[in-house]
């Protein structure tokens, strides 16, 4: 079933397979990732539901984009995006993007055969959680924001010093990949999490886990790679951005749906509020945002799958379009609900919190608009 090119990801699973996968995933999430489940899980320390995680792994969702020889499904960006539309819609808590996408794709992009065979099988079957530390305290996910320095030590080993921040699910990671500055440019290292000082950062999006990690002459293993390490990081970031765009598109769509449902049942002044133009027109504008986000996320996934030279532009377009759309939908949803959404008990703010988090991860909208324009040659 797998025919995976180096620079393009050809369709490896059929449209029918894809539909079957997203259908089962939707059913699983409808059953196991209800609002009550999300609220329960987000209050736990680890921030994910290990039972559900195992089921996701068995379904192939965790190892979706990992090559088959390492126990993954070997699917590509198109399948990934459809999957994250579902997980975003359900506000799934957990390290799906951190481990199964960002870290896994970074390993794949680097191409260090030893690291892949040691690490990927555990990531693919969900037994080990991986993440990647790619930026410093300024955030930004660019080479300039890296605050970790690597020094070569004895016997081919390296040691890292400095700080990485906004590390998604860093506090629960078994496998930690770190981008650090070396005398010959940026390289990626594997670090034993227990050798670092990991501080959980309190996230405004309670369904997310973020960590700041301090390295102090921490021993590290430099990963080999056939391309400049930052190119590999960009490749991993781009796949994570596609996944995130899908999450945003799916979450935005769901938010709009429950808001429209409310407008169809809530009466004020003797009329359903959805009959008022103030509400109806706001909703109509949001349909455009929501559908555009879905188009953008899917288009970016396809462009990446095709190995298109326009893929980076398409991904940055999806990044800012989906972030802006989800934020606007989530914000307007609260306004459209009125007082009821101003309570802690209402789910609308959970989506708004997720929208605000997603809008920052792996680069904010202004960054992506600038990158989009650069990739158009401007």
């Amino acid at each position: 079933m797998v025919t995976q090119g180096e620079d393009s990801r050809l369709p490896v699973i059929t449209a029918e397979d894809r539909t079957a996968l997203t259908d089962s995933l939707r059913r699983l999430l409808a059953d196991r990732c209800t609002e009550a489940d999300v609220r329960r899980t987000m209050e736990t320390q680890s921030g994910y539901d290990p039972g559900l995680w195992r089921e996701l792994a068995e379904m192939g969702v965790v190892g979706l984009v990992i090559e088959e020889e390492y126990g993954g499904v070997g699917a590509g960006p198109v399948e990934l995006e459809r999957v994250t539309e579902e997980t975003g819609s359900a506000l799934l808590c957990g390290p799906l993007i951190s481990s199964g996408v960002l870290a896994a794709e970074l390993l794949r992009a680097l191409g260090d055969a030893d690291a892949k065979s040691r690490l990927l099988p555990g990531v693919a079957d969900g037994a080990r959680l991986a993440t990647a530390a790619l930026t410093g305290r300024a955030g930004g996910w660019t080479p300039e924001t890296i605050e970790v320095d690597a020094k070569p030590g004895a016997g081919g080993g390296w040691s890292l010093s400095g700080v990485a921040s906004y590390v998604t699910h860093g506090q629960i990671a078994d496998v930690l990949l770190v981008a650090a500055k070396t005398p010959d440019g940026i390289a990626v290292f594997e670090v034993e999490p227990s050798r670092t000082a990991i501080k959980a950062l309190p996230a405004f999006d309670h369904t997310l886990r973020l960590a700041e990690i301090v390295f102090d002459a921490t021993p590290a293993r430099r990963l080999a790679g056939s391309k400049p390490a930052w190119d590999a990081v960009e490749q991993a970031l781009d796949l994570a951005r596609v996944a995130l765009a899908g999450e945003q598109a799916g979450a935005g769509k769901r938010t709009l749906e429950f808001t429209v449902d409310y407008a169809k049942t809530r009466a004020q002044f003797g009329r359903l509020i959805g009959s008022f133009q103030a509400i109806k027109h706001m909703a109509a504008n949001l349909v455009l945002e929501s559908e555009s986000a879905i188009s953008a996320a899917r288009h970016a996934a396809q462009a990446l799958a095709d190995g298109s030279p326009q893929a980076a532009a398409a991904i940055s377009l999806a990044s800012f379009a989906c972030a802006d759309a989800f934020n606007q939908i989530a914000a307007d949803a609260i306004q459209m609900h009125g007082g009821i959404a101003f309570t802690w008990a209402h789910p609308a703010h959970l989506y708004l919190r997720r929208a605000r988090a997603d809008a920052q991860l792996f680069g904010a909208s202004a960054f992506h608009r600038e990158r989009f324009l650069q990739r158009l040659g401007a």
């Binding site: 169809k264 009959s275 109509a284 559908e291 324009l373 158009l376 401007a378």
Partner: protein, 409 residues
């Protein structure tokens, strides 16, 4: 197969079209497409070619054979369209795109249909739309142009606006009120009105942009044969909805850009080229704004592509209805960003200042999309009600005889 013809395989069909085109298609003198889709390419060579396409059954292959068609399914019709497109030959796919012919096929009377349908497919007659009135802009059901039955014809009196192509048209698709004592949607009838008669006067309408692409049309005892009625008397609102659906689905793709026609360099995005030329491409603020507008354009194109792909797979898509609203934003925003790029340069106009001309023209002409063919506000109602299923507003005049509706006393 609708007509019981033997089923063709896709490959056989493709081969047949290719062979036919190879034999008949020799190219045409430079085509001159009319403005806004309402005009016609009128060279004799062009018409001769169309007649040949129609008679060979390629013009409307989804239609039944007795109406110049071949009774083919959509996907086979698209094979034909693709082959025509591949060699640049016009005339196929009219069962999908020819507003006039589709409307006539669906609703024209048994005596009128055989006359008009081939003329429309062969584009032998010019057409225009006679919908809007000064007193009924967004509210088409509020029209007051009247058509009164008199034996074998109707007598038409009233006024229409925002008509393009009226001066050269042979027929106008007209909505007029034939019954004033029923609620407003129920007293409207739909006609193919002959335009070249004494009772029809066409006057140019001076637009906000200074151009005159539109007309006002005045009817004074104009005559319309009863056989030119489409659908039953009083059933015109339904006919109109069908006709409007055609228009709206293409409006998201076809709005006008800048007027000057200044050649854009090397295929670069026009806004990037403009900012580069103006020396402000390094301005971070302007870069963000440019990215937003290019983004809007691309998102709209992606939405349209997704809608078409959904349709091709048999899934009906609600995305299509978003195009017009999206295009309205694109045009207004592009005008704003062009102004931002030009700065004081946007103060000017005229042929010596083509960039300013573009920005200013677009600023004004964007209203053609945000007002014309149903305002953005109406479009949001449509999306809210038809796509999202939100409840309608209480309609105060829905069940009231039209004579009693406010403003019609």
């Amino acid at each position: 197969m609708a007509d019981g013809a033997p089923a063709l395989t896709d490959d056989a069909l493709r081969a047949e079209v290719r062979a036919w085109l190879a034999e008949h298609w020799k190219g045409l003198p430079q085509p001159r497409p009319g403005p806004g889709g309402a005009g016609w390419t009128t060279t004799p060579e062009h018409r001769a070619w169309l007649a040949k396409v129609v008679e060979s059954g390629w013009a409307a292959p989804r239609w039944p054979t007795e109406w110049y068609g071949r009774g083919l399914a959509d996907h086979q019709a698209r094979i034909i369209e693709r082959e025509f497109a591949a060699v640049g030959a016009p005339g196929s796919g009219q069962d999908r795109t020819n507003l006039w012919a589709n409307t006539a096929l669906a609703y024209a009377s048994p005596t009128f249909k055989p006359k008009i349908v081939p003329q429309l497919l062969k584009q032998e007659v010019g057409m225009c739309l006679l919908y809007s009135e000064p007193g009924a802009g967004s509210d088409l059901a509020g029209i007051r142009t009247r058509a009164d039955r008199n034996g074998d014809h109707f007598v038409v009196n009233g006024q229409k606006v925002w008509t393009s192509g009226a001066a050269t048209a042979d027929y106008g698709m007209l909505i007029a009120r034939t019954d004033w004592d029923v609620p407003k949607h129920k007293g409207i009838s739909f006609f193919f009105l002959p335009m070249k008669q004494e009772g029809v006067e066409v006057r140019p309408l001076h637009q906000i942009t200074g151009e005159s692409h539109f007309n006002e049309v005045f009817f004074t005892d104009a005559i319309c044969p009863a056989e030119n009625l489409l659908g039953a008397p009083g059933a015109g609102w339904g006919v109109l909805q069908t006709a409007l659906a055609y228009e709206r689905s293409v409006m998201g793709e076809g709005a006008r850009g800048p007027r000057s026609g200044v050649a854009e360099s090397n295929g670069e995005e026009p806004l990037i080229a403009l900012a580069r030329e103006a020396g402000v491409l390094g301005d971070p603020l302007i870069r963000q704004e440019i990215a937003k507008v290019i983004g809007y354009r691309r998102l709209n194109a992606m939405n349209t592509a997704r809608a078409k792909s959904d349709l091709a797979q048999g899934t009906s898509s609600s995305i299509m209805s978003l195009g017009k609203l999206a295009m309205s934003r694109i045009l207004h925003e592009e005008a704003r960003v062009r102004t931002l790029i030009l700065g004081a340069g946007s103060l000017l106009e005229g042929p010596d200042h083509p960039r300013a001309e573009d920005a200013n023209f677009l600023t004004l002409n964007a209203y053609f999309t945000s007002i014309g063919g149903g305002t953005d506000q109406i479009q949001r109602n449509i999306i809210g009600e038809r796509v999202l299923g939100l409840p309608k507003e209480p309609e105060v005049d829905r069940d009231v005889p039209f004579r009693q509706v406010r403003g019609n006393a």
